[in-house]
Amino acid sequence: MISQPRAGKSIGRFALSEKTLLSIKNLKKVFPLQGEELVALGSVSFDVYPGEFVTIVGPSGCGKTTLLKIIAGLLPKSEGEIHVDEAMFDPTREVGFVFQKALLLNWRRVLDNVLLPIEILKLDKKKYRSKAMEMLELVGLKGFENAYPNELSGGMQQRVSLARALIHDPKLILMDEPFGALDAITREKMNLELQRIWSESKKTIIFITHEINEAVFLSDRVVVMSARPSRMVGAVDIDFPRPRKLEVRTTPQFGEYAVKLYKMLEIT
């Protein structure tokens, strides 16, 4: 079940096209540090197919966030290649990013926070207002559109940031430990909600976590990275039917996946 960078293999849920949405080859990132070089990201290679939910797990400091920022164009890469199929999506406009922190602008009401990408991309704000309301309903925040961020709880704030990442209809959503700061109960709710949103909106998601259960529950494929100097250990395909219920976690198969990932992370 461990697959090295795949060549158009299809997995359980739905037959993927041969074309990759995003293809990363030998990506490397080096930061200068007091005259020396700090390897933030050793050679990483993997492909992402349209509609896939790919999770990257690894210990803290293994360069997961760096990887995501390079994909988003927030950091320049040092070596390697990122190939984007521009026929499928425009990497400058059709990306959504959910950060570790909610990062809401506290001077804007919830609705205007959700509409921020529309303003930046200079799209018609009026046209997207009703869509923003729909997004807020989708993340369970109907009726909070006029609240200010500091009137919301942490979980609610993170859900606003999810709505904001989805408003401009991105094809690819990058999520950097979005639920890391949430309590376990809210986190499970958010996992279910994210699965629902993802299957309703047919997005491609690259998701970062260091929570193994979350990774197995959400993903079509889990990419495992090692501690620094970070490299890619391998990838595991998760073959559970969708939509998945929380009970799937009690199945022996779920446990097997988790054990496999723990072994790859060298936690035994």
């Binding site: 927030l74 001077w107 930046i120 009137e151």
Partner: protein, 274 residues
């Protein structure tokens, strides 16, 4: 708690009661201070040219006096004009300069040291020079008010524009936001609390500037009254001027604080986590 219909009203009443509970003590202290002053002057028979009672100062403001007949409306208007225009000019130029400095590090590195140098000059000491160059008048005093008060605005605004989490900028950078968008959507709104604290300092300093300008040379304004009343040893008009000056300074401070509440309502919302 009452039912929904009365909720808004009772909340409003509660707010008013809270405001009174919070402020009545300070009002009492101010009133008490003036009463103590009034009666100690009478009891201890302090001569008026040393310390007049506050009632005498008020009398001079509202009732024409034979010995010191000043055209109060004209003088008050002049000082208020200098003070308020000085404040507005300082606010606009100070915030504008700070934006330019943060926008372009090159300009900042070139120009800011000169500004620091100018700011470290005691403005009172160069006021006579300014007068020499520009002559009497409202423009001179506005310029002095500006020189006295612009630096806190520039520094506070710059600090606000710079004190921003990188993540917050990444938030729109990944959508290829332009530098202008970064300023308008993130940096400037984020700096509002800093801008307002700069403006509050500026509101009390620009009246100092206006009065200093009038001290050096002028033929009208409250600073002029203070200087000319000093020559005739008639102290009540000096105290009348001081009362008006402090009211004006406090008034503008209050206006800035009110504007802050109106422009940044989010900062005054209580957190309701749950």
């Amino acid at each position: 708690m009452k039912k929904n219909g009365q909720k808004a009203k009772s909340a409003w009443c509660k707010k008013a009661v809270e405001a009174i509970q919070k402020n009545y003590r300070s009002v009492l202290v101010i009133l008490g201070f003036f009463l103590l002053w009034e009666f100690s002057v009478v009891w201890f028979k302090v001569p008026e040219f040393v310390l007049p009672p506050p009632s005498a100062a008020l009398k001079h403001l509202f009732i024409k006096q034979a010995d010191a007949n000043y055209n109060w409306p004209l003088h008050i208007r002049t000082t208020l004009q200098e003070f308020i225009l000085g404040f507005c000019v300082t606010a606009v130029l100070g915030i504008g300069l700070a934006i330019v400095f943060v926008w372009s590090k090159k300009v900042k590195d070139m120009v800011l040291p000169l500004f620091t140098f100018i700011n470290s000059l005691p403005i009172i000491a160069i006021a006579p020079l300014i007068l020499l160059w520009m002559g009497y008048g409202i423009k001179t005093n506005i310029l002095i008010a500006f020189l006295v008060s612009f630096f806190p605005v520039v520094i506070n605004t710059m600090t606000g524009l710079d004190s921003i989490e990188d993540d917050l900028l990444d938030l729109i950078r990944y959508l290829n936001a332009s530098k202008l968008q970064l300023f308008i959507k993130i940096r400037i709104p984020n700096s509002l609390p800093y801008i307002f604290s700069g403006l509050k300092i500026c509101s009390t300093m620009s009246i100092v500037g206006a009065i200093v300008g009038e001290f050096i040379a002028s033929d009208r304004g409250l600073g002029y009254i203070i200087i000319s009343a000093q020559y005739t040893m008639s102290t009540p008009p000096i105290f009348s001027s001081l009362i008006v000056i402090s009211l004006a300074g406090a008034g503008l401070y209050w206006v800035v604080a009110l504007a802050e509440r109106l422009i940044m309502p989010w900062a005054f919302k209580k957190e309701q986590k749950g």
